[in-house]
Amino acid sequence: MAEQTPQPEERTERTGPRTEPRDAAHWARYTERIRVPGVPGSAPNVEGRRMVGPLQGFGKMWQKTYKTRLGGVSVAPVEVVETLKERFPEISGFGKGFRMPDGGLVPGAVALLGGLSGVVVLYADEESFTYMTPEGHPFSGWITFSSYADEDGATVAQAQLLIRANDPIYELMMPLGLHKIEDRTWQRTLGRVAAHFGADGRIETRITCVDPKRQWRQCKNVRHNALVLSALHAVSTPLRWIRRQATGPSKNARTRNPTKGGTP
């Protein structure tokens, strides 16, 4: 965990003991809905959505832990997390599909994933950071990347997920390949972390079903399903084009999208 920033003594004398908790700067601020800075309409599956944790999803709850021991390499946990934060698109394999927020992976920042969905940085300190997912994402939950020294003093890089499938469609997809994709993504990520620091990159995976019950009351989450909404949007594109041709250019559309010359 991050060290507390030393406070000037004179301030302590004047104002008394500090009431601000040490972790205050590490957490995202509460907002009811996610706001994506930049071009309006560029992230329809994220903008205006609520964040969802493992308690809001539909499917079974899983805790997945992937870790790699950077044995024989002299690297501090802080350095591992800093590298992951700075080079996340490349190390995770998402590449350009992962749009880094302008200010980096700081608490409250929103990163977009291939135009389909995104994640919000819920928590970030020197030795860990956590993403939380929005409504419509395949999973509802948290993904935490951290690094620590094990009992033999070797640095360990770890990714830990606490997730449920967000809705019944994603839950159906879990045994049909979604589990495997998720496992491979984070195993490869940690493999790349190990390779970056010159370690052998053997990955240890531990998967636990924390809650085998499905939350049927969350069936309604399907209305936000990013895959379904994006597919519907794509299918209806010709219809929207025909309508535009028939009615002429929409003033509203031009106003909403400043990149097409609308009124700011």
Partner: protein
């Protein structure tokens, strides 16, 4: 080094010294490893309700302490577990994860989990992580115990 090792031939002696050196480094690193900076005292306030007083830092290292406290608080058919967070000094995302797994365990045992004593800062963390959807947050111990008893 004892007398036995001093009698060893040169190369073996050097090897033995190196081995002792590595053991010493490992001992030092182990003592420097982060430990749970938290205590959880359990009080039985009624036949059906226990209160857990949390003091310190809720991080991944608190897992053992939290689960031990839960085990102790559940003894004797307790139906309500009330957690007092007045002494909470630090919490990270792993700490929040521990609360989720505790909640699942409590629900599985058909018990209730209630919380009081959260500062404004930690209340907002419960909001953003949406734990407040699933865990009842109360202003005082009296309210929480009353709700746990019903």
């Amino acid at each position: 080094m004892n007398a036995e090792t001093e009698d060893l031939p040169g190369a073996l002696h050097a090897l033995r010294c190196e081995f002792e050196g590595i053991r010493e480094i490992k001992r030092t690193r182990r003592s420097e490893m982060p430990q749970a900076q938290i205590t959880m005292d359990v009080r039985r306030v009624s036949a059906k309700v226990s209160v857990v007083d949390v003091k310190g830092e809720l991080t991944a290292f608190a897992e053992g302490v939290l689960m031990d406290a839960y085990g102790q608080a559940s003894e004797g058919g307790v139906r309500g577990i009330v957690m007092n967070f007045e002494g909470l000094e630090y919490m990270n995302s792993s700490g929040i994860g521990l609360l989720v797994t505790l909640l699942i365990r409590v629900n599985r045992e058909k018990q209730k989990l209630l919380i009081y004593g959260l500062s404004d800062h930690y209340q907002s963390i419960f909001q953003i992580t949406r734990l407040d959807d699933a865990i009842a947050i109360h202003d005082s111990e009296e309210d929480a115990v009353k709700a746990a008893s019903t």
